[in-house]
Symmetry: D2
Subunit: 282 residues, 4 copies
């Protein structure tokens, strides 16, 4: 059963929910699920409404009307159709667990998207891409060529009309310029419970600190590494018996689970960035 | 900051959300948080809306208007004011952990309610009630006098104008008649992960089955014991090292946590019974 | 660093730990990790000892000595060498998530075993086996031919010198005869939190009961379906918003995680069956 | 059934387990549960053995023998008798949830200890102490009098023959001198998932960072605040709907649970400090 999802951010004002609900009702929309939330810090109002696509009279009239309403209420909005799948590019380096996980979830239709592109700075994972018949592009990166590499990557994203970039354990830092070109459209997985153990070797740090839980964090990429708005986190228990290799193995489960949940939430338009944080609707 | 919460259940129909939102807006209500949900099995529509109390022009006009709207849309509704605390009676037998837990959470204002009454079939916990200066009534129960005991209990509930009954490890079965007189207003805690291990000795059963997780379940009481609509569940890990006493101790943490979460959700008007199940808004 | 693991079950008796530890010390064994446990119900004593393989003088003298000691103390024992990988057969039907998961964990050396054989009653997953170059045998099963099919399966297990059988969402019931031929060497994954929702459609049952957590259970297969000794269980939170498809998707994560943990524990000789239950050493 | 627990730390050496097990067997000890672990970083060996007290011939001969063995193997050891309860002092300031929790767990015999002393820098919680008839001493602390206050506190600990100090949300920093006088015998609860959000206002920091999980950490106090060896940690999920007050309420559950688990592990001699980390036997 096809449905349409509308997300809205705007300054809080009385009558907002009523105006939007009435407009949707006039367009024939029948609400399946909705959530509204006022953020008391920013005094912004956030809405997500899901409704039957079949009963909407005309999507062009729907979109036209929304534009008007948006102007009146200073809304930022986004309309998405369950039948129109987002196009996702996955960036990887050498480890394969997140890549396999995302592909298999997409194949089982748990993640409702298309994956027309995999980009890597190594050849290692080409066979995985080939198993699933997904175009694979190797764009080597080193310090001297980063600008040029990023140009090539952005060109690929453009060619393939990509909506969302997933950094699935891609071990390179993207430039501020790249990240700013894709605001709230690049999802990264960090292998620690941020803000603890930011940086390169979180499992080693966790082992040295003797923590009893390790974690993983999925967040939107921003210019400041490991500080983007957090979408999802999860932890797992470890003990004195665990060596570094055990932590890494346990961590793989966290990484793929947390990344998949964050990507799913994004694809279902359940995430809205709110300053340095996220609203994640249920 | 005082607020008002409105919960609504009604047959699904286009324009519902709009009509309600518009009415509220006209009354001066400014929505803080709201959630709407259509249950596809029953085709019923569920709403919960929270708004600033301060800006509402007149609560009598609000209530009058809601009555009209309710008639038009066949709504079941409930309006609650954050300043008007629900009055809660706690039923106990001999174990004290849930009782202490509920009282302490109420004292710390995590549970926004009054506790004017504790009823028990034993004298054991009278000192706890006295510590906190809460009226305690011992109503002994045995097979031959159950009807009479329940009459006494109901009289006490009436006298104290009780809104909600919590069975905090009360080890007696209430009659169908009693339960029906308090629909969706009696919350029980069962010390297992229902439907597994219903009945009297769940920890012993868990031990014998060799399960690796034990649980607790909070649900509304219905005529069929241990089968009321589930509000909340949680589990904890156990191992071959755990004896019956360890399971019981671990279970106490689950019981008080699960019961407190269920009671809190109920007091915040986040729970609506939907057939044999519950909607629990976030 | 290669190591040897010794697991022992025997009637409890004073001096047991000393006798075994002294024998191992005489053989040159240096203990890395050990755990001993007395089960008070059966009065049996369980030990697991892990020691450096490099320092052991002679494995034949080790094994000969153990035989003598075993006779004296009525021990059941098992010695395993980290360098000798167990040979695992995976039984599947049509769903692929557990199969992929087991293969990828084996490829990343998280599961230390060989997978020389996949058996299915359908052709569906042959391409997965081929991707990873694992021999795949389709043995169709129907009611009239079950005996014949099981003979063919057992022949394949024999040919490939299989140590452990994993039922990775294999949707056929194995006969009591088959199961008894592989005591504590067939691991099944059931897609519910057993003993709740045994049988064929656990997610549908979970949805109808309105439980707030769903689970998965990994256990050794026994003649009574869904009642074998439990090795591992895990749960995940669900809500009124989740449809059957959401439960199934959430459940896939549980199934593969729980199955992988159980298989890993088995391969590391951390599981000993103790009546209807298991000891799972840390 | 009374039992004795022996914990041992010593440099690793072949024959260690055998020598100790043989000695215990000669003394009549029958092992109930034991665990041995070699830490590969420090090359130290850790043992915990629990055995029936009833069958031990003579505790004085047991202790004398252990001293000899300890000299030979350079062992640090500790022998504890389940019948001899440790004496615990609880330090508090103004919040009561951890205090109530510890007392109630002690009263239900989940925590096997005596609580003969509560010390606070405020009068606020005196009534709680009085409810349970526990001596309460108010020792005010300010910058100019800290040394004098600590002398008074240490005198009280001495008078009451205290074995373990629990800082149950005690909001004062203890001097390095105090902490060093009680090595691995002061347990603190910090209201964050350390090392994230060390310092004074962790819930506010958590809110500002937009983390999706909050945590609590129990650790031994050391001279460097919030950096002592971690004993136990736990987390709970939060969302954009949660305000500071919700985080604090959720955190209270974590704090009391984590602190209670750490204290229980300590009282059961399951914790051994190993450099900056802890071994916590199961």
């Amino acid at each position: 059963m096809p449905y349409i999802t509308l997300t809205v951010t705007c300054p809080d004002r009385r009558g907002l929910v009523a105006a939007l609900a009435q407009f949707l009702s006039q367009q024939g929309a029948n609400i399946i699920h909705a959530e509204e939330h006022r953020d008391t810090t920013s005094n912004l109002f956030y809405q997500r409404m899901q409704f039957d696509a079949a009963k909407v009279d005309s999507t062009s009239s729907l979109e036209k009307g929304l534009k008007k309403l948006a102007a009146r209420f200073k809304m930022t909005w986004r309309l998405s159709y369950s039948e129109t799948l987002q196009r996702v590019a996955i960036f990887v380096s050498k480890v394969d667990h997140c890549l396999y996980d995302l592909i298999l979830r997409q194949r089982s239709r748990e993640l409702r998207c298309e994956i027309p592109l995999i980009i890597s700075n190594h050849e290692t994972l080409r066979p995985v891409a080939e198993q699933f018949k997904i175009p694979f592009h190797c764009v080597p990166v080193d310090k001297t060529t980063r600008e040029q590499s990023e140009r090539a990557q952005m060109e690929l994203l453009k060619q393939h009309r990509i909506d969302l970039v997933i950094l699935a354990r891609y071990m390179q830092v993207l430039s501020a310029k790249f990240v700013r070109a894709w605001p709230s459209r690049i999802i990264n997985i960090h292998h620690s419970f941020l803000p603890a153990f930011a940086g390169g070797e979180p499992y080693r740090q966790a082992l040295e600190h003797g923590v009893k839980l390790i974690g993983a964090t999925s967040h939107y990429a921003t210019a400041n590494l490991d500080e983007g708005p957090i979408i999802e986190q999860e932890v797992a228990r470890v003990s004195h018996r665990d060596q570094l290799g055990d932590l890494i193995a346990r961590g793989r489960d966290l990484e793929r689970l947390v990344l998949a949940r964050a990507v799913r939430a994004h694809l279902e338009d359940r995430v809205i960035v709110c300053g340095k944080k996220t609203i994640v609707f249920s």
